[in-house]
Amino acid sequence: MAERYIVVGGGLAGLMTVIKLAEAGKHVDVFSIVPVKRSHSVCAQGGINGAVNTKGEGDHPDIHVKDTLKGGDFLAEQPPVKGMCYAAPQIIYLLDRMGVPFNRTSEGLLDFRRFGGTLHHRTAFAGASTGQQLLYALDEQVRRYEHDGLVRKYEYWEYLSFIKDEQGACRGIAALELRTMEIEAFAADAVCLATGGPGIVYGRSTNSTINTGSANGRSYMDGAIYANAEFVQVHPTAIPGEDKHRLMSESARGEGGRVWVPKQKGDKRRGKDIPENERWYFLEEKYPRYGNLVPRDVGSREIFAVVKDLGMGVEGQDAVYLDVSHIPAAILDRKLGGIMEIYEKFQGVDPRHEPMKIFPAVHYSMGGLWCDYEADAKNDMVPGSPRQQRTNIPGLYAAGECDYAYHGANRLGANSLLSCIYAGMIAGPAMISYARNNMKAKGDVPGSLLAAGKKQWDERFNAIYRMSGPENPYVIGQQMGDLMIKSATVVKSNAQLDVALGEIQRLKESWKRCNVLDTGRTVNQSAAYVNQLWNMLEIAHLILKASRLRDESRGSHYKPEFVLPKPKTAKPTDDAEFMAAWKARNDRWLRNSMGTWTPEGPRVEFQELQSLKNPILAPEPRHYD
């Protein structure tokens, strides 16, 4: 009998996994809560990194590896990062062959622009909606396979859980049809979760409403390890909104955009009326080399310091200026059209002529489901190894933002589209190897296992439909978001985290007193939400717990109580005292936090990185000035 494969999630990572499976002639069932073309990858704006080196700058995949590892403060296993950076140029070429309308040079070649955390032009882009264009390209290729009968889409189906056999291996999934509310169990020889990040745990973020992290939360509850949960990226530049915070791409700065505030506190003049010498370009001043293109964690912290500590926000508000008005409008339209439109449409101000008011917003989870890798002695990834992207649950894989693997403590801009596609490219072949090795031994998935999986969820949802307490689940979700924003974003403190850990318990209790609001069986979004909400509360709990336990500052995780002293020399390595403190910190904390679910709450252990025994690059102090 032919193997069966399931991919959950239809963003870049999921679709690339599907393509790799279908290309090998395998039948794939892909599950998605929305038509896959509407997945969150559409929101990525600025571009995709690859050291193609077409600008005479001497760029090389090795420099990309170094920028990525340093950007993440060395908290990433190194061989997968190397594999990704080396594959990047061919991935960009592949996307070009698929028809992505990348911006071009006058010679007709791919154009590249600057992005944060690097000094090279390394980012290929399609206007300022690169994620949308990449997703469409993969969507089209998957539609071709669907047309040929290799791929079957289950759109408007929500993953509920994986189904485990007696040995603890994944043998399929249970899923909910979001229109008829029917629950079914599906058998598979290997399953890949490509279900994105948990931004909605924070209420409002730059994420789509569908990014609940529910699938991850549930998988964690069922035994999958969730690693580095405390690393959640806050993007420096977003437009605060009532329903969501809309991203203003880093590419605005890559194309020359400048961040500033009026030198005079509370200056009431309009931004465009404030003369040049009365503007404080605080990033350029403090970071002469990287300027406005410091990594995101650094940028967000600096903006917070200017606004919260110095009270220098624009007109006393939580806002700084992001200014592109000095760039000719025609260039802005050609290279940044998508975000120019977003700002104009949602704020009613033309950013071609007036500086934009922006503020940091929760954007991306570096943490996610822990997954394995296999590399050879030269630190090259072993092609087709069943260990690539595999979680600690045999047969269960993870790819994309839902995995923890590529970005360490902070992700560099334009590395996410790349990591999604690369993870999908290696997850597909790994799943095939796994299934081939295990099919004979395991045989067909027993019908009783599937029946039990379905029954468990039928009972769970019947209980949800009966929930008639006083609490509105959406209000609990809002409270969870407010709590997380207050406790686990740019600046964290143990005192606040202790409070939050108590609060999250209280919210979990409130959940039990929820009202389902709707008992119907047609598009019952609130019943689905009640289920998602519990899984979100579990993820929130883990983020808080891991944040509380990590007593250091690294990348996006910043506790003023635990900051290394500034080195006293220009080169940090020349300051022996600093280096001793830095080394002591790394000995204790250069470890992955491994989160395991227990009925009493998250258990978090700190585990050394495998690849540091034979590293590609020895860790070094992370400085951008």
Partner: protein, 259 residues
């Protein structure tokens, strides 16, 4: 300006169920849009008359007008709910599901036929494989810029909703799929299969069914030149039909290498 927002929603429990109007009143918040108002209703699903009801069902995802999910009729006009700012809408704000697609519930409809149309016209570049095959073909910035605009189509359905040729029981593919043929036929590799896609635009429901009302181009939230795409593809399908007729002998076999 009132400190309240009044919203009237046309609701139905599904196909075959009668529709009803429900009115809600929520606090006006700065920068509110239709989505944030629907979120307020979720948190307190009580009508203006004080009746507790179920939260209305609606589709949404990106909330920045790139995914196409939250398309609905807002004050009678089809558009995305996320970019519909409350301050710019007259009150009461009416919300209705799109009418040219099968209703699922409340504000959610089934737009599967748009994705099926993309299959019919083979809207993809048939690449040889995902292996490392080197760079793609060179393209001029001008061609890429046009292709980019065409490629921003998010399959939202606005163009079908306003098209007089689209109605229950009619087969017209609509502007979105026609414009996608132009997108793929203008790619150097995609052009090799241009005739396949043009054949997808011929016959029942094809480009010839366009009534030239040109509503589509005004309704498109992405400013895609849909009427130019339709005109271009109408010309190309005519040429293709002539070519098919002249080359009908070849097609039956005999001439040229087999395959």
């Amino acid at each position: 300006m009132s400190d309240k927002v009044i919203v009237r929603i046309e609701r139905s429990d599904g196909p075959g169920h009668p529709s009803r109007w429900e009115e809600f009143q929520v606090d006006r918040r700065p920068n509110a849009n239709v989505i944030s108002v629907l979120m307020q209703i979720q948190r307190n699903p009580v009508t203006t008359e004080g009746k507790t009801t179920t939260p209305p069902a609606w589709d949404a995802a990106c909330l920045e007008e790139v995914c196409g999910s939250c398309t609905m009729l807002i004050n009678g006009k089809v558009r995305q709910a996320c970019s519909a700012l409350i301050d710019k809408l007259s009150q009461p704000v009416t919300l209705q599901p799109m009418k040219k697609f099968p209703l699922v519930r409340d504000l959610t409809v089934d737009r599967q036929k748009m994705f099926d149309a993309l299959k019919r016209v083979r809207a993809w570049v048939p690449i040889d494989g995902t292996y490392d095959l080197g760079p793609g073909p060179k393209q001029s910035p001008e061609v890429t810029e046009l292709r980019y605009v065409l490629s921003t189509c998010m399959t939202c359905g606005c163009c079908l909703e306003v098209c007089p040729q689209v109605a229950p029981g009619t087969a017209f593919l609509g502007a979105a799929a026609i414009s996608q043929v132009r997108l793929f036929n203008s790619h150097p590799t995609g052009a090799m299969n241009a005739s396949e896609r043009l054949h997808g635009l011929m016959g029942e429901g094809g480009v010839a069914d366009c009534g030239k009302a040109a509503n589509c181009v005004d309704a498109c939230p992405k400013g895609i030149p849909l009427t130019s795409s339709i005109a271009d593809m109408a010309r190309e399908t005519t040429k293709q039909a002539l070519k098919d007729w002249f080359l009908r002998d070849e097609r039956k076999g005999g001439a040229g290498p087999a395959g």
